[in-house]
């Protein structure tokens, strides 16, 4: 059981918001020590694993290209294109974003993100769609619902699309871990079998965003009933 101390260090370190790299390193060092490894054994194991897992950082190859494209207005153009899609409801705006986010992730594009897309673009568009329909200022609880779902769509698309890409960090890690365990697995097989989950993530997401629209309608009905009641007492 003492070997689980590394797990404990990670849990405590992250919940207390300590610097994450040093939490992870300490967990590794302490785990090595309690299981009887010498300092040099631990350093060798650490260096070895870090070097053999360099492939996880291959994304640095894409940074110069993305950076250059951003300098020439990549994000602005992407925003413009998404902004051109005529959307009727808040839920549909979020559906469209989830779909394209998942597709982009499946192609290995690092286009999305909460700061770059959700706050400046998806949430304002979804809110605008509802506002256009309601012709009044939105209630706080309506805004909270749209915000939560906009942020969730980014995560669904990102998480469940990424493993369909052949050079995704996730499937490269799977390959690495299984190789250590003595199994050679093909990236292509893994990418293919990530597709069913990607499909269900879209399906459940769409259902959720459809239900969100209905919930927003119910809130609207309730609030107008309340308004009528309020008006009634005045009459």
């Amino acid at each position: 059981m003492i070997k689980l101390i590394g797990v404990l260090i990670v849990v405590v370190g992250i919940s207390l918001n300590f610097e994450i790299l040093s939490v992870v390193l300490s967990a590794g060092l302490v785990t090595g020590l309690v299981s009887g490894m010498s300092i040099s054994d631990i350093l060798i194991k650490l260096g070895d694993a870090f070097v053999t897992n360099r492939y996880m950082s291959l994304f640095v190859l894409t940074l110069p290209i993305i950076g250059l494209a951003e300098r020439y207005g990549l994000k602005e153009r992407a925003s413009e294109l998404i902004g051109n899609i005529k959307a009727v409801t808040a839920g549909r705006v979020i559906m469209i974003y989830e779909f394209f986010r998942l597709l982009a992730a499946a192609f290995g594009l690092r286009l999305g993100g909460h700061p770059t897309f959700v706050r400046p673009l998806v949430y304002p568009m979804a809110e605008g769609a509802l506002k256009k329909d309601r012709k009044r200022n939105l209630l706080d609880k309506e805004k909270e619902i749209i915000k939560a779902h906009s942020a969730a769509a980014e995560n669904y698309g990102n998480f469940f699309g990424q493993n369909v890409f052949l050079a995704a960090g996730g499937i490269l890690l799977i390959q690495g871990v299984l190789k250590e365990a003595g199994y050679n697995v093909e990236l292509l097989t893994m990418a293919k079998y990530a597709i069913p989950t990607a499909f269900f993530a879209i399906l459940y997401g769409f259902i959720q965003f459809y239900l969100m629209d209905r919930k927003l309608n119910n809130i609207n009905k309730e609030s107008s009933v309340e308004e009528e009641k309020a008006n009634g007492t005045y009459n």
Binding site: I14, G47, V51, R54, M56, P64, R71, G73, K147, A167
Partner: protein, 306 residues
């Protein structure tokens, strides 16, 4: 000449070393030494990591973590970035052509992996060179500027860039110490893993639970796979390692949707959107998809994995 992954690593190393050099010579950077050394070490490990003794690599990793801990990996006060005006003007003149370079990366990588003897990693190296040359042709930018663009993105990712590799190293140390066995024993003690369906449930539940604890499915993957996936699902019941591996990973991602420990995905966004409830992304939306998707994944593993 036969291309190998080592050539791709050298390319990554060169990019890191250029970023390091530009950081050292940046007069507007208050931590230019610390940040420059950090990217420099990363570059050295990329280029020479395979040739120098492991113990030195281990020491270099510890130095990187210490630099990060001391807060010296930081942003510069000024990057040579284009103005919003320039971006909007270029966006109007280049139109959708600006999407070509980023789209070349996945497309060419896929084509190389599918139709040549090279795998996706070497493919990524080749495609990024093709994409970069295309980007130069489309934008007519000077090659010098691209170093600054790369540096801006390196610094925005900051020391998190090495987190996946460090977590993999943690997984290796956990594996060497036998942490997986302890957890596997615990779970095997509670769940009748000799039945195929229960071994699958142990694997997916283990992934989701451990991800909720660690806040990171990558960290959970090596521990739970070595501890439960390999001995029970793959060895005892003969599952296909590639298929159950990838489904286990996405089961872990369902855990990511449920945990405040994954702060960058769940907590920071609610702050960014100025939500009243900091856990609102999880409690108002994500759990309702995470739980059915988790159950679906468990069924998919059982149906497709054997």
């Amino acid at each position: 000449m036969e291309l190998t992954i080592n050539h791709v690593y050298v390319l990554c190393g060169i990019i890191s070393l250029v970023v390091s050099y530009l950081t050292f010579t940046d007069e507007n950077h208050s931590n230019s030494i610390g940040t420059g050394v950090f990217w420099g070490i990363l570059g050295i490990i990329f280029v020479f990591g395979g040739r120098i003794p492991s113990i030195f690599n281990g020491i270099l990793v510890i130095i990187m973590v210490l630099i990060s801990l001391s807060g010296k990996v930081s942003l510069s006060n000024e990057y040579s970035e284009s103005s919003l005006d320039f971006k909007e003007k270029k966006s109007k003149s280049l139109k959708n052509k600006i999407f070509i370079p980023p789209l070349i990366i996945p497309t060419v990588t896929f084509l190389i992996a599918q139709f040549t003897k090279y795998d996706a990693k070497v493919g990524l190296g080749i495609s990024s060179i093709v994409a970069l040359i295309t980007a130069f042709i489309i934008t007519k930018e000077k090659p010098k500027e691209v170093g600054h663009d790369a540096r801006r993105l390196f610094d925005s990712i900051s020391s998190f860039a090495i987190l996946p590799q460090l977590l993999a190293a943690l997984g290796a140390l956990f594996a060497a110490a036998g942490v997986g066995e302890v957890i596997a024993d615990l779970i095997a003690g509670f769940i009748p893993v000799e039945m195929k369906i229960w071994s699958v449930i142990a694997y997916t539940v283990g992934m989701a639970l451990f991800t909720i604890i660690m806040g990171n499915a990558f960290a959970a993957f090596s521990v739970i796979t070595i501890g439960i996936g390999v001995p029970f699902v793959i060895q005892m019941h003969g599952a296909n390692p590639a298929i159950v591996g990838v489904i286990a990973m996405v089961s872990g991602y369902c855990g990511t949707l449920l945990t405040p420990m994954a702060a960058n995905f769940n907590i920071v966004p609610s702050a960014l959107l100025e939500m009243k409830n900091e856990n609102g992304v999880i409690t108002k939306a994500q759990w309702k998809v995470a739980i059915p998707l988790f159950i679906t994944n468990t069924i998919l593993m059982y149906v497709l994995g054997f």
